[in-house]
């Protein structure tokens, strides 16, 4: 048994015998190409000026010094069905490989079978924590292809709903992050506050989670009577509660120990890995599409882009906490500045007629029938529209062949891309910190796997 190669082969046989996933798995070092080994410990190590140094990826280690363990896919701290293969040296994580696809339902394929009218119901189920943002990216792409302008009021309603949705998404993040770190009270508080927002969504759109509220051409319904009061109550309550979270978590010694300085990332690394959103901002890059490439009416409201310094867990926590406050600021401005007018475009080719018109007008009946059987035709072209979702740049690439269904619909899911930062962030960290890393990267598996 002294021959090291003999031992490796035996270990490999053991691994393949126990699992069925085959080549997606993390393989023993002896069977891993240097390139792949480098990627698994962090792809950015291969950037210019940092040529592959064998010692930098612990290539000298032998397989009998380390242990490969499997975490997930059903693990309470993986926020869904994320599976990680970890190579450990004692308590220290050397390599990490995320294995995804357990929630893949072929939504992009489904999108090709649905008309543009139905498409919003499909995309809204991708990132189930911020459905409005998904619908928004999709609707904006379709509108760009159609070349239609959305009424002013619809723009502001979209912006307000998108920000309220950002608050609820960050609240769920605060809740799950608290639970991962053992603060179960934070979990209860986060979900409690989110309930206010879900109740408002139900009042507005009729549904709580998969809203199908933002549609090509505008929004599904006008805001309900008394919405100003509801929104103001949400803002006041959550604004005050963020200071309670501050007291509960920010100064808490155990929380600080587990967050400060854990899993740092530099701006260069984040950009190389195409990481966006709070993760990129935590490294000090002030990149927020709402500010840098404004869409909707974000150039008319005042808010701050929150930026971190060290790119560690604590920065990512602080950014999300403060983004809740900035979103509240935007929502308050929306309440003040909400214009009057139509909440959807009056183009009868895109917008269904009101119910009452169908009984009295033959034309309205025909339009209604055409819209809900065949759908509207979209000019030939391809477009990529990106918005800032709570998790980063959410892009929608649509190719149209002139028919009523998209020829190809691709969603650039921020969680899917951000997940690539996990091997880099975990490298050299402790086993217990993997939980906080997954938590602060904040992947939503519905969006990762689509």
């Amino acid at each position: 048994m002294s021959d090291p190669t003999y031992r490796t082969i035996e270990r490999a046989d053991l691994l393949t015998a126990e699992t069925s996933e085959g080549p997606q798995e993390l393989k023993p070092r002896a069977q891993t190409a240097t390139d792949e080994l480098a990627r698994e410990v962090g792809a950015v190590l291969r950037l210019d000026g940092r040529t592959l140094d064998p010692s930098s990826i612990d290539i000298e280690r032998r397989d009998d010094e380390t242990m490969i363990i499997n975490m997930g896919p059903s693990h309470p701290s993986t926020h869904g069905v994320l599976r990680l293969m970890l190579e450990l040296d004692g308590e220290v994580v050397l390599r990490t490989k995320p294995v995804i696809g357990y929630l893949h339902t072929g939504m992009e394929k489904t999108g090709e079978e649905l008309s543009y009218v139905q498409g919003a119901t499909n995309v809204t189920r991708m990132d189930y924590l911020s459905p409005i943002n998904n619908e928004l990216a999709y609707s904006m792409a379709v509108e760009k292809l159609l070349g239609i302008e959305v009424p002013e009021r619809a723009v502001w309603i979209r912006m307000m709903m998108s920000e309220i949705n950002r608050i609820s998404s960050h609240l769920v993040w605060m809740a799950t992050n608290g639970m991962d770190l053992g603060s179960t009270s934070m979990m209860i508080y986060g979900l409690r506050e989110r309930e206010l927002i879900l109740a408002f969504f139900e009042k507005t759109a009729g549904l709580r989670l998969n809203l199908n509220y933002v549609r090509p051409g505008g929004v599904a319904a006008d805001l309900p009577d008394g919405w100003q009061d509801d929104v103001t109550v949400i803002c006041d309550t959550i604004d005050a509660r963020t200071y309670e979270y501050d007291q509960l978590l920010t100064g808490q010694p155990i929380f600080r120990d587990r967050m400060i300085g854990v899993a740092p990332m530099t701006a260069e690394e984040a950009l190389a890995l195409s990481v966006t959103g709070p993760l990129l901002r935590s490294t000090g890059v002030p990149w927020d599409l709402r500010r840098t490439m404004p869409y909707l009416a974000y150039d008319q409201v005042e808010f701050d882009v929150i930026v971190g310094t060290y790119g560690d867990n604590f920065d990512r926590f602080a950014i999300r906490l403060n983004e809740i406050r900035e979103s509240i600021k935007i929502v308050r401005q929306c309440v003040e500045m909400m214009p009057r007018g139509d909440y959807r475009t009056q183009d009868p080719k895109v917008t269904p007629p009101p119910r009452a018109r169908i009984d009295e007008s033959m034309e309205a009946l025909i339009h209604h029938f055409k819209l809900f059987t065949e759908g509207f035709h979209v000019p030939v072209g391809e477009v990529y529209s990106a918005i800032e979702s709570p998790r980063g740049e959410l892009g929608c690439y649509i190719v149209s062949d002139g028919g009523p269904k998209p020829y190809r619909i691709h969603v650039r899911a921020p969680s899917f891309v951000n997940l690539q930062a996990v091997p880099l962030l975990m490298r050299g960290g402790l086993m217990s910190d993997t939980i906080t890393v997954i938590s602060t990267v904040d992947p939503v598996m519905g969006e990762v796997d689509r």
Binding site: P23, R39, G101, Y384, R412, F416
Partner: protein, 164 residues
């Protein structure tokens, strides 16, 4: 429309995009060099990479000098400093579906190229770990291709079509 980087390969076909600074249509040989020149020109972030299968549109409209092929790999680049986007669309033929990987330029493209491989069967040369990412390892076929049938659950009544 923004100008191409100075170091870009010559004779790259460009067009104005609906939402981008510039759309480029490089050949497969120019593709990697073109992306490299964009990166050196301040396009720090590779926002997106995806593939499209134009099986039913072989004669679609493209700028002069570009031969349409069945597959197209679409790359969206983003410049943080200039606040502008660039799109690169490279044609990939059906009988030899392979292009150079961009992994050495943007390591973050790794998962996106794996996804394009998994769902379309486009191969990326020099990719460190080109395995399936969303579908199970033993899956046959590439589901987002247009000639891949959408499954049906057989139901028991007379006129129902059988499974495709």
């Amino acid at each position: 429309m923004i100008a191409l980087p100075e170091t870009a390969p010559t004779d790259v076909v460009t067009a104005e995009g609906l939402d981008t600074g510039v759309s480029c249509f490089p050949s497969r040989e120019q593709y990697h060099d073109l992306v490299a020149s964009f990166r050196d020109d301040g396009f720090e972030l590779l926002a997106d990479l995806c593939a499209v299968d134009y099986l039913t549109h072989p004669g679609r409209q493209l700028p002069d000098g570009v031969t349409p092929e069945r597959f197209e790999v679409v790359v969206n680049l983003l410049s943080l400093s200039k606040k502008v986007r660039a799109r690169i669309r490279v044609q990939v033929p059906e009988n030899d579906p392979r292009v150079e990987s961009l992994f050495d330029l943007y390591p973050g493209v790794e998962a996106m190229e794996r996804e394009a491989y998994d769902l379309f069967g486009v191969l990326f040369d020099h990719h460190p770990d080109l395995t399936r990412i969303l579908m199970p390892e033993e899956w046959e076929g590439h589901p987002l291709r247009k000639d891949y049938g959408v499954g049906r659950v057989p139901v028991q009544f007379k006129e129902a079509p059988g499974p495709r």
